[in-house]
Each structure stands twice: as structure tokens, then as C-alpha cells.
């Protein structure tokens, strides 16, 4: 059975459930909007451009935890996780599938947040969507794969809603720094080519985290 067929089947199933229940998207989306709204009262529109990347990525990181917590928790009722682990589906395909679903959901939250950000902070980012797209895709995949791996690790913990953010935020640091630097630079209309070192950091983090997820999935989920 093709690994990618299995991964995309898992992702499609998770997105179908999410579209029906909207558990993660409603929580993460409304959280992101409320935080952006509150910050718009606290800061002057002119000074926000200096730390717009930081503001956006902290919102995405916190909203992401709400999405990631549901990822594997969705498999607990009716012992669906056991069913998947006993099936021919490989544990790595399951984790990568979860990461793809996380990625898609987080991108939706990011898009909604960017729309709100543009309105509240008077930032016209539509002409920057190419550069922002590259930055967001690279950083979001890294965050999504981390969320999937540690969602798997914490799924059976009683305090998983607390434990997951505590574990993943320190590991997200290189991704977040890179994403913040690049997003701020792009929103300040600097060319992305002037910050290639951060693109390399994001790419390397994505590769390392994906390889770790691939290699450790069976150990994490079964042992």
C-alpha cells in the first residue's frame, strides 16, 4: 500500500470530520481573531509594523495548539487509534497524515487571521501574498509536523491540553524565530532574498522534524 495514499486518506478523513464538527477551526479561528482584535486596541497602527511578524506567529502558535490537541484525541472514541495501529496503515503514514490535516487547518486559521490583521492594522498584504505564501508554507509545515508528533506522544495523557504546548513551544523556537523575521521583513516590503538564511533554517527544520516523525512514529505510538 502506497505510503502517500495512506497519509492522504488519513488527512482527508480528519478534514472531513473537521468540516462536519468544526471543533478545531472554530476554537482556533475565534481565538486568533480575539487576540488580534485586542492587540489592535493596545498598539498604535504605525508601530505594529515593527513587530507584526511576532504578533502573527505567536497567535498562530497558540491557535495551533488548539488544532493539534484535537488531532489524535479524535482517534480516542471507539478505540479508533488501536484499530489504525493494528491495521496495515504504517504509524509514520498516520503521523504524516495528521500533519497534513494540521497543515491545512492551520493555513485556514492563518488566512482568516491575515484578513483580520489587514483590516485592523491597515496592512495591505495582498500584493505580498507570493512571498508570504513561501514563508507561511515552510513555517506552517514545521509547526504542523511538530504538533502531529507530540500530539501522538501526549494523546493518552490526562493533562494533554496542558502538556502539548509545554512540550512543543520550546521545540518551535527556531521555526518561530525564522518565521517572525521573514514575516516582519516581507510586511516591511523588504525582498525575501535578503533573508535567505532564515529560509534555510525553516527548510532544515522542516526536513529534520519530518524525518524524525517518519522514523520515530512507531516507537511513539506503540511503545
Amino acid at each position: 500500500m502506497n505510503f502517500f495514499v495512506q497519509s492522504f486518506a488519513v488527512a482527508r478523513k480528519d478534514l472531513a470530520i473537521e468540516l462536519r464538527t468544526k471543533e478545531s477551526l472554530n476554537a482556533a479561528g475565534s481565538f486568533a481573531i480575539v487576540i488580534l482584535l485586542l492587540f489592535s486596541f493596545a498598539f498604535d497602527v504605525d508601530e505594529i509594523k515593527d513587530f507584526s511578524g511576532g504578533l502573527l506567529w505567536l497567535v498562530f502558535a497558540f491557535a495551533g495548539a488548539l488544532v493539534f490537541n484535537r488531532g489524535f484525541a479524535r482517534e480516542l472514541p471507539n478505540e479508533c487509534l488501536d484499530t489504525l495501529l493494528a491495521s496495515p496503515l504504517s504509524a509514520a503514514a498516520l503521523v504524516i497524515g495528521k500533519a497534513i490535516a494540521n497543515f491545512a487547518m492551520l493555513l485556514v486559521v492563518e488566512l482568516v487571521s491575515l484578513l483580520v490583521f489587514g483590516i485592523f492594522y491597515s496592512v495591505d498584504w495582498l500584493d505580498l501574498s507570493g512571498s508570504l505564501g513561501i514563508v507561511f508554507a515552510l513555517a506552517t509545515w514545521g509547526v504542523a509536523i511538530l504538533g502531529a508528533v507530540f500530539g501522538a506522544l501526549t494523546v493518552n495523557l490526562r493533562l494533554r491540553e496542558l502538556m502539548l504546548p509545554v512540550i512543543i513551544y520550546p521545540l518551535m523556537v527556531p521555526l518561530l524565530i525564522g518565521a517572525i523575521e521573514l514575516t516582519t521583513a516581507v510586511l516591511q516590503r523588504q525582498p525575501i532574498s535578503g533573508h535567505l538564511e532564515w529560509i534555510r533554517v525553516l527548510t532544515a527544520s522542516d526536513i529534520v522534524f519530518t524525518a524524525l516523525a517518519w522514523g520515530l512514529a512507531d516507537t511513539i505510538l506503540v511503545n
Partner: protein, 237 residues
Amino acid sequence: MTQAIALDRVWKFYGDYAALRDCTLHIQQGSCCALLGRNGAGKTTLLRILAGLTNFQRGAVTLFGEKPRADNARRQSGFLGHGIGVYEDLSARENLHFFASITASGNTAALTNQWLERVGLARVATMPVRQFSRGMRQRLALARTFIHSPKILLLDEPFTSLDDRAIAMLSELLTEARQRGATIVLSTHQLREALAIASHVALVENGRLRYTGERTQEMLDDPALLYRLHTELGTPQ
């Protein structure tokens, strides 16, 4: 005949408690082994070890000569546990299509329709599973387990919540599976139904395999006979 399942001197501990004690069980390909025993005897633990879901501390387990977590072993087995393993927010068709996509090859849509018909859920195929009765869920779980025609079927109390027609359907599915050479291990409290299908019997008590052997005509005539002869507590209530 090929040996499909081999457990050799398996011990499983939950903390200090020994859930399985020195269990040895060899099952030939094409056999149907009914795993009998009272609640808490160790039947579910044994099935979970065979499915590769639970680690054990001592002994060895193989399915067709490979460890239960090996890709090839999982590809050839189907597991139905206590939890039915289907998604409440998806419809019966979506559930089966998902499991067909991750387990089976070929035309998954046709396979899905075929199994919806087979378990009598075609009429309610688009209804979310959360609206299903317990029996309908169990039938869906059976379809999900059988959909990739596994060579080893590990079924934990598969008769639960099934009405008489569904029990007949399950018996038919198990008979067909045996005819195509599948090996079946099923735990159950429904002695009569299990013994009617089984070729072999394994009786578990307090984590020990008290009896393993062929199912005999005497067992069919008197399903409680095994308990009377081989357990300390005697006839089940």
C-alpha cells in the same frame, strides 16, 4: 499445514499483576480458535498482543513467522477490539471507504458498496454513525474488519450486540473466511455460537491457558463441559 500464529511462553505484566502467565498457543492456518474464559481471564490481553497493540515482558509471538508489528503481519491481519473502531462523525460509507483506502488495494468505492450491502447497511450508508444503534455499529465494525480479506482475523467478542440475523451473518462471514484459508481467533462468552464455528478451543483462566485442543462433539453437546473439567470454579453462570 502452515503455522499461522505462535505464542511461546508469553508473560504479560501490568505492574506486579501477571495478566498472562507462560502462555503457549500454536494455531494452524485455516483454523478457527475460540478463546474462552471469564471476564478478566486474559483473553483481551492475548488478542491485543497478537494484534501488536500491547507489549509483553517474556516469550515470543509470531504471525506467519513475523512479529505482530511487522508490516507484513499487519497487512495480513484484521482486528476487531472492544471499541468498534469507527468514526461517529462520518457516515457508514465514509468510514468503510477510509478503511478500504488504508488497507485494501483495487477499487475501494466498489469494495465499500459491496460490504455495505453485505452487512445490510446500504440503506443507511449516508447516515452519520452517531445515529446508528449498537448492533448497526457492530455490523459496520465487522465490515471494516473484513474489508481487506485478512488472512488472520482477531476478533474480541464479535457477537456483542448482534441480533439473531446479524449473528447468522457473522457466522456466515467466518465460515467463508475459513473456506478461503483465513485463520480466526475469537474471544467470546457466547459458547454455543463460538463452538459451532470453532475448530479449536483455548480456555483461559487467571492468565493461564488451562486447555488447548480441538473442539469436540462433546463440547458442542454440552458447552459448559470445558469449564467443568478444566477450571477451578466450575460451570459458568
